[in-house]
Symmetry: C2
Subunit: 408 residues, 2 copies
């Protein structure tokens, strides 16, 4: 069975016309002798409408009931897409998460997939049916309750199904044509990549290239499932292939990103005692705050200056914790700087080539831009810069590493 | 367990405000020490919206996929109502037809309930949860597919659950306060009945008192489940109780109805041969046409005049069949009369009291109204009259049998 899993996001199935277009694309795959298993999201913004309705009734709805409610959105799309395929002359069958055996834990609203019993899907494929699966949902086998998978849920459904079905590949259809070297809205010269490694894609996803959720990419990487990110608005574009790429000898910058939703917090003159930083960061992580960069400078007077960055959205949670910490350890008052942005370059092994880091710092220096913080991983170098300089810096760095190298 | 099943129709749960009102009514029942099991329909006209969406995509959608689609409407209501109860401080749990064990046959869009496995509902009731069930739906245990119960489905869900749970009673909440002696829009003096027998209610339901579908009433009668028809817009009104009523010695007319959606068809001069009427009526019933009254007069020339009535909506199906019959048996051309209406009086044993029939014919005669056809059952007498005379006749008959007798 040459199974191929396709996933169509909300904008791809937002209207009856869009559903027809998607059905035609599925039949194209079928006519190539493949067995399509198609995962769909809820139509357009219909999930938001359901959330609004729920909040009108109860500002703090139980997660179990929210899952019951929201899972209907994907179910609606599955049946409509099966009808569209039927009209085009091909048998299709829609399945809920329960019906296609997607078993999860019982963490409603952010469930994790434990297992997929593929018996029903295989039976339908053997009957030459195109199988349409409701994304984002599963069920807990102990309670019999419907669960949802949380953010990036439909992508995760698709990747997990592809793995369970030993599919050839998993195509993620969205409203962009693929992965770009940078955000085309900010960098005119940004261009689409024909392929990218899981690791690079993961860094880009985490750094704000909002195409796929890191969770589904990690799952694909672990199982070596080849992904394609493609557009359902431009089927001629073959999209970006995401796969295990053997690092080439020469390290290359593959993408340049900018995250403007970031705030730097500095706590000056923290007493230099063991465990004192742990106290602060464990309190923050207990609130699920994602702390990105941390810098701690030992000052000559035997006190530390601690700086770190957080998503600006979390500021309301973070400030009370930081203020309590300041009070407890008797440091100086915390400084909050929102006018910052994180500029990053991404590419396999780039930190192993010192010329790349020095090149980055050189450009920023030539532009007269001060680097406030730096962090690196094996495939990423990030700098915190002033937000006012950020777009200019992004374009210059993209020019230097990518446009002038003509990497595809 | 003092279980009471309540069912709320689409208009009762059409908006978040309505759902709040329903939640409060459920808590009133709970505070009386009862264990509520609540069956809900889809919100307002949302089922119609889904049907419209489906027909845009496929003018002839498969019934399996329609069931998958439409079942989401009730599921949405269940979760919202559970959220509303939770907000009012009481634990509630929503269940799909599958989750509460409503097993049906596999006739999609008109499935019949085979069995209800009440284990899950009982478990939830034992945990002091209010149980909210999606009406209109079940599942087929062989395929694992979602089914819907067709017209009157949510009422049927409610009655079947009440029977399976051995509930004290089943309350059907709708947008009218109960069962009336006649249609209040046509008969000013019509008043609400405090109770009525299953048989009488069945006749009224069949004759167009559009409150409950006959199917659910029959199910209640067979199992002697006490029903209440009540309004969710007027909780002070105790509604109409439907139950087994021992016939009193004196037969009474309990309701007067008028069905204007009726057409009379006459086929004159049909040869008087055995099986010739069967030929016509079996062809019609093969198309699911409900033939109501049939009159066959043997004419002195050895030919029959056959007349019958059909719902006017079925005329498009009926005419070609009748014309083919006319051609085959070489009778005279069929006559179609749409300007007719069916006036009926309903009451247990009324045909056993000759004075009632003669009373009816007397009034119509006094009004100068010609009775074109008559049919009777044990609890009903129907007359076909000209539509122009019908509303006047309805009021006069209601006056004579009901208003002037002050029957409650």
């Amino acid at each position: 069975m040459n199974t191929v899993v396709q996933k169509y996001g909300g904008s791809s199935v937002a209207t009856p016309e869009r559903i027809q277009i998607v059905a035609e694309n599925i039949l194209k795959l079928k006519s190539q002798g493949k067995a399509p298993v198609v995962v769909v999201s809820a139509m357009g913004k219909s999930t938001d409408d359901l959330i609004k309705l729920a909040l009108e009734i109860n500002p703090e709805p139980s997660k179990r009931e929210m899952d019951m409610l929201l899972s209907t959105g994907e179910q609606i799309t599955t049946s409509l897409l099966a009808m569209a395929l039927d009209r085009l002359g091909h048998k299709a069958v829609s399945l809920t998460g329960y019906q296609c055996g997607i078993i999860t834990d019982d963490f409603h609203s952010k469930a994790k997939i434990h297992q997929i019993n593929t018996a029903r899907i295989n039976k339908e494929l053997n009957n030459d049916n195109i199988v349409i699966v409701a994304g984002f949902q599963g069920y807990n086998v102990d309670s019999g309750d419907i669960t949802t998978l949380g953010r990036g849920g439909s992508d995760t459904s698709a990747v997990a199904l592809a793995i369970a079905l030993e599919a050839e590949k998993c195509e993620i259809y969205t409203d962009v044509t693929g992965i770009y070297t940078s955000d085309p809205r900010k960098v005119k010269k940004a261009h689409q990549l024909s392929e990218i490694s899981y690791d690079e894609m993961l860094e880009l996803a985490k750094l704000g290239a909002n195409v796929m959720h890191p969770r589904s990419i990690e799952l694909a990487r672990k199982n070596n499932m080849i992904l394609y990110v493609r557009s359902s608005f431009d089927f001629d574009n073959m999209g970006t292939k995401i796969m295990e790429v053997k690092p080439m000898e020469k390290a290359q910058v593959r993408g340049v990103t900018l995250d403007e939703n970031i705030t730097r917090i500095s706590v000056p003159r923290v007493p230099d005692k063991p465990g004192i930083a742990y106290k602060l960061f464990s309190a923050l992580s207990a609130q699920n705050v994602h702390i990105d960069m941390i810098i701690q400078n030992l000052n000559y007077e035997g006190v530390n200056d601690i700086s770190f960055t957080i998503p600006t959205d979390d500021l309301g949670i973070v400030l009370p914790i930081v203020n309590a910490f300041v009070f407890e350890v008797a440091s100086e008052e915390a400084l909050v700087e929102q006018n910052v942005a994180k500029l990053s370059i991404v590419g396999t092994s780039i930190t192993s080539d010192a010329k790349i880091a020095s090149g980055l710092f050189g450009i920023l220096s030539d532009l007269g831009i001060n680097i406030e913080m730096i962090s690196t991983s094996e495939i990423k170098i990030s700098c915190i810069v002033a937000q006012n300089d950020a777009i200019n810096a992004l374009n210059e760095v993209h020019d230097f590493f990518i446009s002038n190298h003509l990497i595809q």
